[in-house]
Amino acid sequence: MTTTAPDARTYEAVFDATVAADERIEPRDWMPDAYRASLVRQIAQHAHSEIIGMQPEANWITRAPSLRRKAILMAKVQDEAGHGLYLYSAAETLGTGRDELLDKLHSGRQKYSSIFNYPTLTWADVGAIGWLVDGAAITNQVPLCRCSYGPYARAMVRICKEESFHQRQGYELLLTLSRGTEAQHAMAQDAVDRWWWPSLMMFGPPDDESAHSAQSMAWKIKRHSNDELRQRFVDICVPQAESLGLALPDPGLRWNEERGHHDFGAIDWDEFHEVLRGNGPCNEERISRRRQAHEEGAWVREAAAAHARKHGGTPGEARA
C-alpha cells in the first residue's frame, strides 16, 4: 500500500484526527510510514515472544506431575501458538508477511521478550510463569486492547482473555504447591525468588531511558508508561503473594501511604541489558531451538507448497 499521495497533508490530518478521537486506524487507511514501522516492530516482537515463550513451558509438558496439570499446560502452550498466529496475521495487515518476520527473528534482527531467556528449572517455574510472567504480560497488554490500530487491538482482546486464564492457573498451581508438602512449598518459593525480578524487567527500561515510548504514546499505540505499568503490577502482586503464603524477594518492598503505592527495591538494569544483549542464561538455546525446528521443517513446508501447486490449492491451505 502506497503512503505517498498528492494530498498527504490531508491524509495526515485525517489520521491525526482519527487517533485524537480515539477511533481505530484500519489496514486500508493512510498512516505515516513511521507509525506502520513502529507497529510492525511491536507486533512482531510480541508474536516472536509468543512462539519463543512456548519453549520454557513446553519443557515441562512431558514431566507434568498429574494428568490434569498436563492437560492445562498443553492447552496453554497451544494457546501461545494460537496467539502467535493472530499476531503474525495482524502484522500481515500492515504488509509484512510471517516468513519475513521469522527470518528476522532467526537472524537476530528482531527481538522477543527477554523473560524467555531464563530457564524453567522446576515444575514450580510453570506456576511462576503463569502468575508473574503472564500477570506482567496482562498488565502490559490490557491497555493494548485500546490501541489505535484496529487489528492489533482486536487481537489483544482475545489474547488478554486467554492470558487471564493462564495467569489464574499459574496462581492456582503455586497455591497448591505452597500448601503442599515442605518440599513443594520450597519449590514454589524458589521459583518466585528467581522469577520476580525478571518479571519486573518485562515492563522495559525506566521511562527516562525508553527509546520508543514517547512517540508510541502520542500515537496511542501505547497508553501508559513503563514505570506506571510496573508500579501497577507490583501493587497487584503484593497481596496475591500474601494469599499464596510466599515471600517476594525484595527487602525494600513496603506500602507507602503517601504515594498510595508500594515502594520497591532497585532493579538490576545491568542484568536486563546483558540479557538483552544476548548474555542471558538461555538466549542461545532458545534461538537455536527455534532455528532448528524451522530448518527441520523446511522439507515439510516445501512438500505442502509443491502439493498445492500440483493440485491447485495454496500453500496457505496446505498449512492448515
Partner: protein, 253 residues
Amino acid sequence: MNPTPASTQAPARASVPAAPPGAALALGDDALVLSHRLGEWAGHAPVLEEEVALANIALDLLGQARFLLSLVGDEDELAYLREERAFRNVQLVEQPNGDFAHTIARQLYFSTYQELLYGQLTAGDGPFAPLAAKAVKEVAYHRDHAEHWTLRLGDGTEESHRRMQTALDALWRFTGELFDPLDRLDVDVSALRDGWLALITRTVGQATLTLPTGPQSGAWTAGAGRQGIHTEPFGRMLAEMQHLHRSHPGATW
C-alpha cells in the same frame, strides 16, 4: 483456544454398565501414550499451524485417556505409578516421533483404527458408548489431519515422498497388533481390520505411495504391547513422564 478448554477436563462419567477393565486400560493406555508422544512436538513443529493441530490432537487423546483410566481406578496412580510391564498400549503408539513423516504415518495408522473402533462402540449401548460418541468426532478430525498430510507429503516433493514411504514401511510391523481382540469388548475385529485396510490402501494410493508388504507383527512369540511387552524407547518415555510424580510420594499437584 478457549479460556476454559473443554479438553483440559476429563469427560464427565456417566452411569453406564461396568466397563471391562482390561479393555478400558488398553484403550486408555493407547490414548495416554500417544498423547504424550504428540506433546513432545510442542515447540518443534514444522509450521505454527501444526503446533496448534498436534496439541489439539494430544489434548483430545489425553481427555479420552483420563476418562478410560478413571473407569479402572485413579487416573494419576495408573499413569504415574505403574511399571512398564503393566502398560497395555499397543507398541505403535509408543514409537518415537521420528521426523514429521513418521509422526504422520503413526497418526494415519492409529487414527484410522480408532475412528472405526469408536464408530463400532458408538453403535452399541455398552459401557464405552458415551465416550465413543464424543471421541469418534474428535478422532475423525485426527484421521482427516493425518490423511491430508499423507497426501501432501506423498505427492509433494521427491524428498517428502521418500520420507513418507520410509515412515509407512517402518511402522507397518506395528499395525497387526491393533486387531488383537480385547477382553469382553464387543467389536467385530475382522470388519475393523478390513475397513482399516481399505481406508489405508485408498489414502496411500491417492498419495502416490505404495502399501507396505512386510508382516504386520514382529516374530517374537512373547507377545507385544497388549501383553505388556514394549519396545526399548518406551521405558525412557515413562522415566521422563513419571519422574516428578514419583519423586514426591503422596503429594498433591
